[in-house]
């Protein structure tokens, strides 16, 4: 029963793991178990949350974007340069988001129009955008960002910063958008069966292009949050984030084969990935353990998930063909037909 519940609500398994993590924390030191801990981990996970939403959109269409880390770096650099050039905070952020949109559109153009395999196309743009970062910044770090910009990441209403509120709205908004609108559903339709979606009258290319474009904008937003949180922009901003984003989404039940997954699941995955870091610090373990623990848990979850899905599949198939097996058992004469053996295979 529990297994079936976890299978239908894939997000719940991540939630359970997060709860377990907090229980471990509580056993060690109860003073850590507070609403503030939850909030501080949420604040640390903002960047990962935003790009995990983007990764979910792209993965729903059976795509993959490994260039998000570079888009993050590029838009953060653009925002930083414009702000230091007395351009005003609002317009700088808008232009940075627009840069992200262009990057995403280019990825989408490669994948949807030119039909280049997604991983190959975005692998190329990963290098390309990263190089643009170095061109834009001419190799130096960007420092001395305006105080008003950094202030956006300081705690405000109800202990949450402006960015934290934006991310919260994004999470809920995208979730509802994907769940309850025709366009949101068509993302999953394209990922599940591209040709079928086309025959249903969905504009497949347009859907794919939109997914990559939104992903680009979200990556740009993540870059801006990154800049506001740490107050300066190194050249390597966003390096390796693409793998973390994909890992969070996968952990939250988004399939790389497209067609399934929820934004909430991906968000929980991202929250979990960050909470490992924070909890290790609170447990006073050395920080170098966290990648290994994250990797180990990721593998265990994946393998368990695969096993459960396999068991569910064969149980379903057994239900479907059970009546044939039982009637065959009743009148033994038809036993020599090879279907019995095949059904046995099927049941396995």
């Amino acid at each position: 029963m529990l297994i079936r519940f976890l299978q239908t609500n894939r997000e719940a398994s991540v939630a359970v793991i997060i709860l377990l993590l907090f229980v471990v924390l509580g056993v060690v030191d109860t003073s850590y178990l507070s609403f503030e801990t939850v909030l501080s981990i949420y604040n640390n996970s903002l960047i990962l949350l935003v790009i995990a939403i983007g990764a979910t959109l792209v993965m729903a269409t059976r795509g993959l974007d490994v260039s998000i880390g570079s888009i993050m770096g590029l838009s953060a650099a653009v925002a930083g340069i414009l702000m230091n050039g007395q351009f005003g905070i609002g317009p700088s952020i808008a232009i940075a988001l627009f840069v992200g949109l262009l990057c995403g559109l280019f990825n989408g153009f490669m994948v949807a129009i030119l039909r280049v395999p997604a991983i190959v196309a975005t692998l190329g743009t990963l290098g390309l955008y990263r190089g643009l970062v170095h061109l834009v910044t001419s190799g130096s770090w960007i420092e001395g960002l305006p105080e008003g910009f950094k202030g956006l990441s300081h705690a405000g209403f109800l202990g949450l910063s402006a960015f934290a509120w934006i991310v919260l709205f994004l999470l809920v908004g995208t979730h509802c958008w994907l769940r309850y609108t025709a366009f949101g559903r068509s993302l999953f339709a394209v990922g599940d069966n591209r040709e079928g979606a086309r025959l249903l009258g969905i504009k497949v290319r347009q859907v794919q292009l939109t997914a990559y474009a939104i992903n680009g904008v979200l990556a740009a937003l993540a870059g801006i949050i990154f800049a506001a949180q740490i107050g300066f922009i190194p050249n390597t901003a966003g390096n390796g984030m693409e793998m973390r984003a994909i890992a969070s989404s996968v952990l939250g039940g988004v399939s790389l084969l497209g067609g399934t997954g929820t934004v909430i699941g991906a968000g929980l995955g991202a929250y979990f990935m960050t909470s490992i870091d924070s909890v290790l610090v609170m447990l006073r373990l050395d920080a170098f353990w966290n990648d290994m623990i994250a990797g180990g848990i990721l593998l265990v979850v994946l393998i368990a998930d695969g096993k459960i899905r396999e068991a569910m599949g064969s149980a379903l198939r057994y239900q479907k063909y059970r009546k044939f097996i039982e009637t065959d058992a009743q009148n033994d004469k038809s036993v020599e037909t090879p279907t019995i053996k095949e059904l046995g295979e099927v049941r396995k």
Binding site: G240, L256, D291, M292, G306
Partner: protein, 335 residues
């Protein structure tokens, strides 16, 4: 006509591109054409070629291995730890290769057991292995990202050793290319690799030992990743846990540029080897004519985008052309 058939092959295009690229850079800066420059600049990028060769096998089976970068670091750190604890350097090398082999087997078993996309599993295991490398280097006293150095002189000299006038890493690359060409194109195992990539189900019905074949492919990738980690450790004279983090994407680039389909089923070792040289010389050439290394990274990313887009466009064009020809002949028959 038949003799000219090889001109249509992708490898020929790559070879022409490679020669043209060397000539262009040579025309801009004649220093690039000196044999010693051409040969010894390969030491900067040949480790990517070494690991890309084995990765070709895995990608042809329709899988992918994202953990190679992590395995390179893990192997280098294993070598360092064993050496610090007084193990003979050659035995330590062997140990590092064994670790590489074990990681490959682990990947394969996890993929087999979970029946999940290899991309996901190796993404998870790359966190695991790079984490393990960090933990090992942390436990070994080299805190965090600091390296382990002070290796035996004979090991460090290996990277600068000349064999028949060629630098030793390049020799390893050539020998590995030869071995992998034989494995992939001349053995039953190689044909199985293609069959699994072409049609997984047909391979199963034909009785191909799938799990064994895949395990060998992933184990070979692990071993070659470890080997290239060792080459790097010897070249730099130190071992660091984040050695390979920058090598993953170039290695996949080399394989894809070499004509291997990312969906599996087609590709050649020669193509990968040529593409690895092509990308490597592109970067060093740009640096020699005075472009900064970051910009050259961007340009090689651009090169990949361009080549892949052109290939995709030409494929689409050919499909349209074939369709047009069929329609035309049908039209002629009916009229």
């Amino acid at each position: 006509m038949n003799r000219l058939h090889f001109l249509k092959r992708w490898e020929t295009v790559l070879a022409i591109l490679l020669i043209g690229e060397i000539l262009v850079f040579g025309a801009i800066n004649p220093a690039f054409l000196r044999p010693s420059t051409l040969l010894f600049s390969t030491s900067d990028f040949v480790h990517i070629g070494i690991v890309a060769l084995a990765l070709t096998l895995v990608i042809i089976t329709g899988g992918i291995d994202l953990s190679i970068g992590a395995v390179m670091g893990l192997a280098a750190i294993t070598l360092g730890l064993l050496w610090v604890n007084g193990v003979n350097i050659w035995i330590a090398c062997f140990g590092a290769l064994c670790v590489g082999c074990a990681t490959g087997v682990l990947n394969s078993v996890a993929i087999h057991v979970a029946k999940v996309n290899p991309l996901v599993i190796t993404l998870g295991s790359s966190f695991l292995f790079s984490g393990a490398a960090l933990v090992l280097s942390g436990l070994g006293g080299a805190s965090g990202y600091e390296g382990i150095s002070g290796f035996d002189a004979s090991f460090v000299e290996l990277a600068n050793l000349e064999v028949l006038g060629l630098p030793f890493p390049l020799v390893i690359f050539f020998v590995a290319t030869g071995i992998f060409m034989v494995i992939l194109h001349r053995t039953r195992f190689g044909r199985y690799i293609y069959l699994i990539g072409q049609n997984d189900r047909a391979a199963r019905y034909a009785g191909v030992p799938q799990f064994r074949t895949l395990t060998i492919a992933y184990a070979l990738t692990g071993i070659m990743a470890a080997l290239s980690g060792l080459v790097l450790a010897s070249y730099f004279g130190s071992a660091r846990s984040d050695f390979g983090s920058a090598a993953l994407m170039p290695a996949i680039t080399a394989v894809v540029l070499g004509g291997t389909s990312i969906y599996g089923g087609s590709g050649t070792i020669l193509g990968t080897a040529l593409a690895a040289l092509l990308v490597g010389y592109f970067q060093t050439g740009l640096q020699i004519i005075g472009v900064s290394s970051h910009v050259s990274n961007a340009l090689s990313g651009g090169l990949l985008v361009l080549v892949v887009a052109l290939r995709s466009l030409s494929e689409m064009g050919r499909a349209y052309y074939l369709q047009w020809r069929v329609l035309k002949s049908v039209g002629q028959q009916t009229s």
